[in-house]
Amino acid sequence: MMRKIILTSMILVPLIPFILALGTGYHYFTTSLENSTISSLQRIVEDHRHMIESFLKERKHDLDFILHSYTFEYLSQHEKLDGVFNHLQGGSHAFVDLGVFNEAGVHVAYHGPYSLRGKVYKDEEWFKEVIRHGYYISDIFLGYRQIPHFVIAVTREEADKKWVVRTTIDTVTFNNIVKGVRIGKTGEAYILNANGILQTEPRSGGKLMDKHPDNIEYPSSNTSIKTFINKDVKGEKYLYTTTWLQNKKWLLVVRQERADAFKALTSAVYLIVLISITGGSAIVAVAYYVTNLIVGRMEKMDTAKEQLNQQLIGASRLAELGEMSAGFAHEINNPLQIIKNEQSLIEMNLSELKETGHLKESESLAELEDSMDQITLQIARCSKITQAILKFGRQDEPKPQNIDLRSFIPEITGMVAQKAVVHGISIEQDIAENTYPVHGDSAQLQQVLVNLFNNAMDAILEQHGTSGGKLLVKAGPKENNTVEILIKDNGVGISPESLNKIFSPFFTTKSVGKGTGLGLSVCYGIINNMHGSMEASSEIGVGTTFTILLPAAV
């Protein structure tokens, strides 16, 4: 439960701002990138329009210049026209030919690659237009030559007579001017007329004078620019910008594949996705790691707290039990004394009766005597228990003094050495030279150590019999001015269930009558009184270690 809450918050708290930051960044970046891409495309369209219009205007001016510089008669002369054309072409190679027409539409003079002189253009659309407006630029058309071209024609009224000069513009040159735009990989420009017929060749393909298959949107007014995204026939998405040329006669289209135009955007998206995934997984991973760490620590602390609580409860319970059992033992001892005396009296009387011959040897008598022996035995057992209880709960003040463990411990091991030798147990002592002295009642501390040694030896005997036993006594200084005494055996070990209860009074694993179950609780009480602590760790079949921690004497 706790783990879920921590994990969720550890993930969500950094993840939400992280996603928000990325999202906001993405939004503003795309918007600004789209805007800048579109506006750059629009600027290109505008520049291009300007260039194309200038080109057409210049060509028209060239014609205007010729028209006003020379007379109809002059230009009607073939050789003269040649000279003028050469001049004209010197200014721009876009001019393919030059022709002069009279009011009736007769091609009076012509300079160019075709032989068009004498042809009558009176009914041609362009001628009608130029007579009406004084100026005309055609769409691309095939004309007599059956070659796509477009013409610029200008008219002049001279002595009530209109005449017309017309020139053909090289579609290749014009094409190149229009096509000259290069934007990214797929950017291109082309011109459509009002009916959607291609006036220049798009770089991506498409023939002059074909209807362009794309779905084109038209700008509303003469000068405005329309920007939109549409699919072309192949289903590729394109970013289009269109603007009118020549007073809505032609439409300049600049288009670029959407993916190409927004290439930076695509890489930004990839980058953002990458950052999101790595960042997100990093957050999740760190959250998992930290949560595990925190939950682990919390569990450890909980366990430690639990253990401490149990120890505290255990200690106070021990103290209560001690007082209670001391009183109880004392009360038992008095009746026990009476029973013992009565039993002695019965025994004496029995033997008297036997001696005087009042009682004959019989099976019943033997049984009676056996029972008497048993009562003696059981009274002794009771008395042993009560004495142990009284020791455990005793109220008398200990006689504290400084105890030098460096000599004290060897003294005590000496006391049990004989028993150890008999049972084939090797005792190893490791007492550090800098072991502090401790403060306490030496008789009590002796009782504790002897008790632990005896327990250890019993455990060893159970595991190894009379060979291979090892008993280690170790003492040394620890931090915070404490001394640690370690008693380690390689005996039979204590099961985890029993390990919790070993310091409780009357807990024993020994067979009935062998132990009172008070030894370790007495030890515990003594060490507790010395302001020390005592604990045990054990593994079945490997051995048991008792650790006593005592404050150093000041």
């Binding site: 004394q337 009476i338 009565e342 009274i379 008395s383 005793r394 008398d396």
Partner: protein, 148 residues
């Protein structure tokens, strides 16, 4: 040789009667008292050599009784009988002049053994006093005459 006379003091009536019987069977002369006051009264009227004294009694307890006995009859030996296994009460008793202590439940033979030891000690003491008095007599009869 003088025969040992014992006094057993305890608040348990049954303990007193049985112990008296047991001691009698073992050939010892014993009187009993159920309280400290009664004990002092018995010692006053009879020549008691060894007192077996229970520590815990209602009214005047063992230690108080011990002190009173020792004050009035310093030669009377006292063995403390305690239900406490505490060294403390035993030490208190020994300090106040008890010769030994016994822990309940005590075996009758144990009681007799300790009592015998105490009696021996008392006899040894009395012997010394007697010898000392004798020496005094031998050294200067005139002084004795003067003293008396």
């Amino acid at each position: 040789m003088e025969k040992m006379k014992m006094l057993v003091v305890d608040d348990e009536e049954r303990f007193l009667s049985t112990t008296k019987k047991l001691l009698a069977k073992k050939g010892y002369d014993a009187v009993t008292a159920a309280s400290g006051a009664e004990a002092l009264e018995k010692i006053r009227v009879q020549n008691i050599h060894v007192v077996i004294l229970d520590v815990k009694m209602p009214g005047m307890d063992g230690n108080a009784t011990l002190k009173e006995i020792k004050r009035q009859y310093p030669l009377t030996e006292v063995i403390m009988l305690t239900g406490h296994a505490t060294m403390e009460s035993a030490i208190d008793g020994l300090k106040s002049g008890a010769i030994d202590y016994l822990m309940k439940p005590a075996d009758i033979d144990e009681i007799i053994q300790k009592a015998e030891e105490a009696f021996e000690k008392r006899q040894g003491l009395e012997e010394k006093i007697r010898v000392a008095k004798m020496r005094k007599l031998m050294k200067s009869p005139s002084e004795i005459i003067q003293e008396t």
